[in-house]
Subunit: 253 residues, 3 copies
């Protein structure tokens, strides 16, 4: 069972951006109920409605936080519609947000999912402030998910993009592009790859750190998220190769 | 009377951006005097000198914080000039910043305004760090505004853009455009409007949530700030309609 | 000697941006070891690999924080290579990051520098999370740098761009451009300059506050960092003059 702490940590991911008042309004509502809450931004800078990228970010970051942390994640094009609001309990962490696949990659065998009872007084456009934040803060103060929602068996969960393994190669794809232009693939660093070919046109040998190649040359590394990533040393591999999320990548063993 | 708490919350809004050292320098000065202060960013991403947009943001966000919160707001093209620095006490909250209209929309009948005594040692370009932050932190530690400034009757206050109501229509304008491209109007959600026409060319029926229309179609909703906003579902209404702040909007009752 | 506090302040500067999970992963690792740590972002928005600009920012901001603060700074194109990871103790503050010149401008005569012992388990691409954050949090909890590294005499340190002083003029350069487009020079405000000429083509008289000139006119001020800066009132001096970091500036006494 998850034990939340009174001075709990609440992380916050959204597509709200940092220019408007949406992010601080959510934080204010949290602090109104728990002035000792520690709120840590994950990101608010994804393109609007980037549910899959957000799911990948949550997968990569949640383990850096102590168990008992509440992860509030709101990318919610369906706000106000009949879509569910859920609490996901997994790996000793809580996740709170809309039921649209955001938590697909943090689920485990012992995952418990609860549909949140909606309040009638909530706005139809800002559930982060009116529904999700109050639930997150309640969890951070030790209230059990059973008291906040009803256990459900069905929830939206999409599959991690699958690999195709052949004789001496593995076919995957680019699943995330970071701010440096590094191309993060779905090919785990545990597979022993010698070199990658992207989009049938660019080759990247596998190395062990960025600076091992020359400036502006491609190199593939075992990245910190556990997957191979293809970088251009001192440059931007995404710009260089004109690759997008979903572009095919072939690894030669 | 407002009661500030020792471990007080200080919100911070500016046009400083997040790239330079201006925002953390202000936070450091706060923590030097009150290491237990909880500092929450409102926004630092507005276009430089956007006083009216900042005033609208403050109006929308301050109520999400507990009473006693100190709201530090510095958009200050007149820094170093003889413009006043003020403390505004309103609705149980404190507001600290330059006297240029920033606090126009948070004033109430019982608003008390105090002109801050300037220190001679302050720089001429960075009053956020040298004057406003020390005042904000003093308020957060329970020091009364009377001890920090002199009560004044006159201060800069601009009017909220007025509505024109006719027989079966209401004329307003776009007063804010958010990061999703939603067009926020000055027409309160309490007025029963059936549809909106923007700029004599675009029509938006009133609905109750974004997803009620088709992708890329306009829809008007009662927004979370209490005003009608016009959105393009899954898209960007501002891009689609080429509308700016100040564009006229007509609501048909 | 520096005394770190249990509930210590850790500032964090990087070129990671705010879109990916790199910044919150570092914060999570800090909170896992010290849940009472107060983490303040300096900036994550510099262009990738801007070591000199980051060094200037650190110089300008660290004094705003109380002594004992730990400043974690990671702009690290050489991550995973044999470059050192260091702790710098200077002016009663701690600085932690790669040994590539980041701490050049915060060193003093009594600076102590320690090379951090690397862990074998660290990733080759994310030392901020795997090496620097654990060291920063240890320092914030009172562990001595001697227990975390080995004293070294040699470390990378670049020189602050020098001035050339002649009979009635001083030659310097633009060393930083802020988000307002203000051109910050390396000419100290203690030198009595009457006017500046930039790039042989633009003239800026010295004034005492931005609003002292007309809109869109250049004016030079003693900036909050201690150096002359050239601004365009209500505008953007960098755009107006097409000046870059390194452009020569002449001050006439």
């Amino acid at each position: 069972m998850i034990t939340a702490r009174k001075h709990g940590i609440i992380t916050f991911l959204s597509d709200f951006g940092m220019r408007d008042w949406y992010v601080p309004a959510v934080k204010g509502e949290i602090l109104k109920k728990n002035p000792a809450a520690m709120i840590i931004d994950i990101t608010h800078g994804l393109d609007p409605f980037s549910v899959r990228e957000a799911a990948f970010i949550l997968k990569n970051v949640y383990r850096s936080f102590p168990t008992g942390t509440v992860h509030l994640a709101v990318i919610d094009p369906g706000v106000g519609s009949p879509r569910h609001a859920i609490i996901v309990c997994s790996h000793g962490h809580y996740f709170v947000g809309p039921d649209n696949g955001l938590f697909s990659y943090v689920c485990s065998r012992d995952t418990g999912v609860y549909a949140i009872k909606e309040k009638r007084s909530a706005s139809r456009t800002f559930h982060a402030r009116d529904i999700f934040a109050p639930v997150a803060v309640s969890l951070s103060m030790g209230i059990k998910p059973q008291a906040l929602g009803v256990r459900v068996r069905k929830f939206v969960r999409f599959k991690f993009p699958p690999l195709i393994k052949k004789h001496r190669l593995v076919k995957g794809e680019v699943i995330y592009i970071d701010r440096f232009g590094n191309l993060i693939t779905n090919i785990p660093g545990t597979i022993k790859v010698r070199r990658f070919v992207i989009n049938d046109s660019y080759m990247a040998p596998v190395g062990s750190y960025y600076g091992q190649t020359k400036v502006d040359r491609l190199i593939a590394l075992r990245g910190s998220a556990g997957y191979y990533e293809i970088a251009s040393y001192g440059g931007d591999a995404a710009n260089k190769t004109n690759v997008h999320i979903g572009t095919k990548v072939i690894g030669y063993l």
